[in-house]
């Protein structure tokens, strides 16, 4: 088992709390970058927790770690603050998903590293009802 703890820990602020940065121009960077173009000033920003489905695809044949979840939907979500994220769309029959559908962020288990490894958590989206 490859130990992935350092990478997992590094991503916690984004995966758990959607921590981003916003430039004075209004542009949102998620995840925040290490360096920004010259002159761009950024301030901490938490991503909006609601948005809509811009586009999505249904996965019937998934990578090994996600094979129990098939069929599942992976969407591009435009959040209410304009930021776009890629997230699984869950708690819905994949046949019912539509573009433009309002969704909200929920905290879920993203991945399990086999029987011995880490349980990896982060955001997914669910339909607003």
């Amino acid at each position: 088992m490859k130990i992935r703890s350092p990478r997992y820990a590094r991503e916690i602020p984004q995966r758990y709390r959607c921590e981003a940065v916003k430039a004075e121009t209004g542009e949102i960077f998620f995840p925040p970058r290490v360096v920004y173009p010259k002159g761009v000033k950024v301030a901490p920003h938490t991503l909006a927790q609601t948005g809509k489905v811009l586009s999505y695809t249904i996965l019937n044949v998934a990578p090994m770690e996600y094979s129990d979840l098939t069929p599942y939907a992976l969407g591009v979500i435009e959040l209410d603050d304009g930021a776009r994220i890629t997230a699984q769309i869950v708690d819905i029959d994949t046949a019912e998903i539509k573009t433009g559908m309002p969704v909200k962020i929920e905290f879920r288990k993203l991945r399990t590293e086999g029987d011995e490894g880490l349980l990896c958590y982060g955001y997914k989206v669910v339909p607003m009802r």
């Binding site: 758990y16 869950v90 929920e106 905290f107 288990k109 349980l119 009802r129």
Partner: protein
Amino acid sequence: MSEVGIVGYGAYLPRYRIKVESIAAVWGADAESYKRGLYLFEKSVPGLDQDTITMAVEASRYALKRAGVQGKQLGAVYVGSESHPYAVKPTGTVLAEAIGATPVCHTADFEFACKAGTEAMYVSYAQVKAGLIQYGLGVGADTSQGAPGDALEYSASAGAAAFVFGAQEIVARVDHTYSFMTDTPDFWRREHQFYPQHGGRFTGEPAYFKHTLGAAKGIMALAKMKPTDFRYVVFHQPNGKFPMEAGKRLGFTKEQYETGLVTPWLGNTYSGASPIGLTAILDVAKPGDRILMVSFGSGAGSDAFIYTVTDRILEIQNQAPKTRPQLDENKFYLDYGKYAKFRGKIIRNEK
């Protein structure tokens, strides 16, 4: 001494359900006898990507939203469960990190069968009361397991409830607390065993009723109150029958216990049981209402609380999803095969 109480609350229930009939059909059991005998109709099931941690996070976010409190204002985060996802690694650190309470925060995981949730609440309350912290979070969450075919399989379910305790802008003041416990071997699970063992009928009189009634009578004597002094009562609810029986024996009416009785359609959420019942009450409570809460955990003991609802309740009830709609709406029913897959009951080689 300053007044301390609940300043925000939230419950999270997964959307999946399985009916008693679907379980009984697999094991050749009589569904009607479970429905009638235990007053149990269906139960919640966590999704494949849900566990005690994910539900605790969602319930806590709702509680913080209602409280108008930021995660970083919490001095303590306590979570009680008998299904902490890791054997070694705290649930509380993931929860605290997800709600932004880290790094200056005291965190601990509690375990006491179904009573761990009210322990987390009690310790949060006590810390605020002692003046050590400004706000504390107490959570009860479980994805409980029943052995295939065992009576517990009909009830063991999933859900979470979270409460922020503080001394300002209280919505339900804590008037009294009381705990009652003995060493009673009614239910246990040894290390490396998949499913718990229980003492069958021994879980009733010498365990549930002795402690639940003992704590209820004790706190009412302490407070010099009687059942008619309360608008609502909520007990631990391992099935639908026990809490109704406890209520009747103590002299409470159906009107007092039905609002907080969620198990018939939710199942036994273990550490979340009486806490989720309390959230269902707070969703509809009015200023001045007095509430008696009595938990129960096998092993065995009960924690009791008396709350008085304040005017502020009306301002926060609609700030986050309520409990009954989560229970009644947008449900996905599973057949036993899918339920077995969701709960990891199908044996496979590791991938």
